[in-house]
Amino acid sequence: MTEPSAARPVLDARGVAKRFGAVAALKDASLTIRAGEIVALMGANGAGKSTFVKILTGALRPDSGHIHLDGVDRRFASPAQARRSGIMPVYQEPSLIPDLDVRDNLRLVDVAAEPFRHWVRELGITDLRLDARIAQLPLATLRILDLALTLAKEPNVLMLDEMTAALPADLVERVLTVIRGQADSGRSVIYISHRFAEIARVCNRASVLRDGVTVGDFVIEPGIEEKIVELMLGGVPVRAELAGRRASSATPSQAPRVRVSSLSAGSKLADVSFDLHKGEVLGVVALEGQGQDELFDVLAGFRRAQSGTIDVDGQAASFAHPADAIARGLTLVPGDRKDALLMLRSVRENIALPLLARPAKWGAIAMREEAAKVADAVARLQIDMRAQGEVRRLSGGNQQKVTIGRWVAAGVETLLLFDPTRGIDVRTKHQIYPLLRELAAQGASILFYTSELGEIALACDRAIVIFGGKVVDIIEAEHATEQNLMRAAYGLTEKQRPGARP
């Protein structure tokens, strides 16, 4: 690795501030990056990372502050202008046009097919057709295509926003290798992520934002994690909270709440069977696209199974609409909060929504009863009510709490959580794990898919591992190290280890 810190800064942002109405999203953000460096931009949700990134890439204009590019003061009017200067972002939402095919998308942004194909292969996708319509490709592929498209334009400063969030582990590997290669060839990368392991592996430095202010800039070295977490959280003792996590874990009773037998759906979910007990948090571990999406959709009533059965409390169940699943106590908390929330409406209306779903409840609302239920959910989930008038003004973590709180208020017995902590800050995550334990202790059953393997040991009693549309392993929490889970997720363990329940 070259010694980058001696070089002149490629990008130097100082004192950047931005207000949205009454809310100051950024107060004093700074970032310096030199050629050949990978700098992690870190911060809890709501710290202002997204705003800062949008300003750096020309998608937003700052109210004040300076951005120097190669020593020249620049103010970008649009993403196109920033791009021409070599600053190229890969946002969390793909920039590809759903109704155009890959080839037209390349033409739209003036990228030749060859360098693009090179990067796609480099990033681990070998079977891409240029005439595939974007709308038909899975999210993980889209993110890789987005990155390949950007790399093909040879960026001076590459900006990756939660690039690995929706990626399976094998693709994460490839991405990390590729961006390290970018830095080694003298380019700069700004890497926005919540994942310490990845940051420790590829980044040179980390810049930490808190409440819109850059509060620290560290060279990455062993043991720095603690310091960064502390700085991000502003002194919340994370470890202490972790200590008590499994104290309330209940012993599963004998009759399963939900029994899934030989379920298949679509082309991916082939044959999945498992029992989910009362009082249990059952983890689901799978690489991207192993059928977990279909499994959750079937259980929540969003799609029909092709074969197999679902028994709820010992009785056969079949769902044609989410309302049917909810009637039997099953409900989905989707990975994308935008799918679950009424962004323009209040916290109260969001939480009370399921209470009004059936035509029998279309009449006058029992306001007091509703207020009590909502207040209870708000208290149990510790939802920050300062911006309660419109949910879209809440931070991502708070929004996710509202989605879960909705079902706490409705008294649902079986929660299907699909990657609920994706893109959520550490502090909120560590509020969500104990909450799941508490709900389970009170008799709820929780099916918990997560793309972060570390969460299994933190929140679950045991985990099923799905590979190729089938359950390949069941792992007890005490054995659920990331290595074990990872091996199983890749389908490497055929035999069940000691301690695994059938």
């Binding site: 949205f20 109405g21 009454a22 929540a300 609409h321 989410p322 309302a323 909810i326 009637a327 409900t331 989905l332 989707p334 935008k338 799918d339 679950a340 929330l341 009424l342 962004m343 323009l344 409406r345 209306e349 009370a352 929504l353 399921p354 209470l355 009004l356 779903a357 059936r358 035509p359 409840k361 279309w362 009449g363 006058a364 609302i365 306001m367 909705r406």
Partner: protein, 325 residues
């Protein structure tokens, strides 16, 4: 520095107040228009004029209720004008044949039917409401013309109750208020305090989320468009009582102003935001504006241009004030 913060904060504060009470600037605008009118022709502002203005604003506000309710879910009901016309025409032609009460019931049947068809198309077949209601409006007009040939000789008569509502006055105020006040209270209360009202906002804000919460949206949409048809039908009955001359295009001229009233009243055409109180003030504003333009002897062309410009300006203002992202 401090001064600039003050200046920056003021519009934001105003914005906040207006966001919380979007009706306030509308009422101010209404008063400004009335003041302008009084300035142009002193003495016009009297009890009689106020009564007349309210009388003509009421059918508009009622038809605009159809737009407000459907727009909250991200829809629109462009068949409302035709539905109102049909009900008006049917009631006027049937009253001589079957008597007032039966005619009223029979006149509301096509209104509910058209609402049901709209609801079926929008809720179950998932057709865009704009297309669906334009289409049923077209079909309805055709049906009305065919119907007309069968009743061409029966003459017309308006049921006494609606004639009383449409033309009578009590304490200087139009009797139409006896119908409208309970109606408006019902709508305002329904939107705020009933599950159905909440679901209308929820559907417009995020239909996927309502589905996820167990709402079967076709049920809501079917009920909504049927209700919209019924309201439009009722509006037609009242309007024919006011105008006292049924025609094949009676309420069609209220159609686009009804959309305008809802838009001016701050209901978002994308759904999820709006209130009926805004719509009522919007209807009053449009009615006063009509008087103003007549008074100024503005040619028809310029009137329409001004009308369009107002919708445009109000929309632009609302977008700026209420949406800061």
């Amino acid at each position: 520095m401090a001064a600039t913060i003050e200046i920056a904060a003021l519009p934001q504060r105003v914005g906040r107040v207006i966001r919380a009470n979007p009706v306030i600037p509308l009422i101010l605008l209404l008063f400004a228009l009335v003041a302008l009118l009084e300035g142009l022709q002193p003495g016009i502002f009297n009890e009689r004029w106020v009564g007349n203005t309210i009388r003509f604003a009421i059918p508009l506000a009622m038809l605009a209720a159809c737009q407000t309710l459907t727009m909250l879910t991200g829809g629109i009901d462009l068949s409302a004008g035709v539905v109102a016309t049909i009900s008006a025409f049917v009631v006027a032609t049937l009253t001589p044949l079957v008597g007032g009460p039966s005619a009223i019931v029979l006149a509301l049947v096509p209104a509910i039917l058209m609402g049901l068809v709209n609801g079926f198309g929008v809720g179950i077949c998932r057709v865009h409401p704009l297309i669906m209601t334009l289409g049923t409006g077209l079909i309805g007009t055709g049906c009305l013309q065919v119907y007309q040939r069968y009743v061409i000789n029966t003459g017309s008569e308006i049921p006494g109750m609606f004639e009383w509502l449409g033309t009578g006055r009590t304490l200087g105020m139009p009797n139409a208020l006896f119908l409208f006040v309970p109606f408006a209270i019902l709508i305002l209360w329904g939107l705020r305090r009933t599950g159905f009202g909440r679901l209308l906002y929820a559907m417009g804000a995020n239909e996927k989320a309502t589905r996820l919460s167990g709402v079967r949206s076709w049920q809501v949409l079917l009920a909504l468009y049927t209700m919209s048809g019924l309201i439009a039908g009722l509006t037609g009955l009242l309007y024919v009582g006011i105008i006292r001359a049924p025609s094949l295009s009676l309420a069609n001229s209220l159609m686009l102003p009804s959309v305008a009233a809802a838009v001016i009243g701050g209901t978002s055409i994308f759904g999820g935001r709006g209130s009926y109180s805004g719509t009522i003030v919007g209807a009053l504003i449009l009615t006063v504006l009509g008087t103003l333009l007549t008074l100024l002897q503005i040619p028809e062309g310029a009137r329409r241009i001004l009308f369009g410009a107002i919708i445009l300006v109000v929309t632009a203002l609302y977008v700026r004030i209420t949406d800061q992202s």
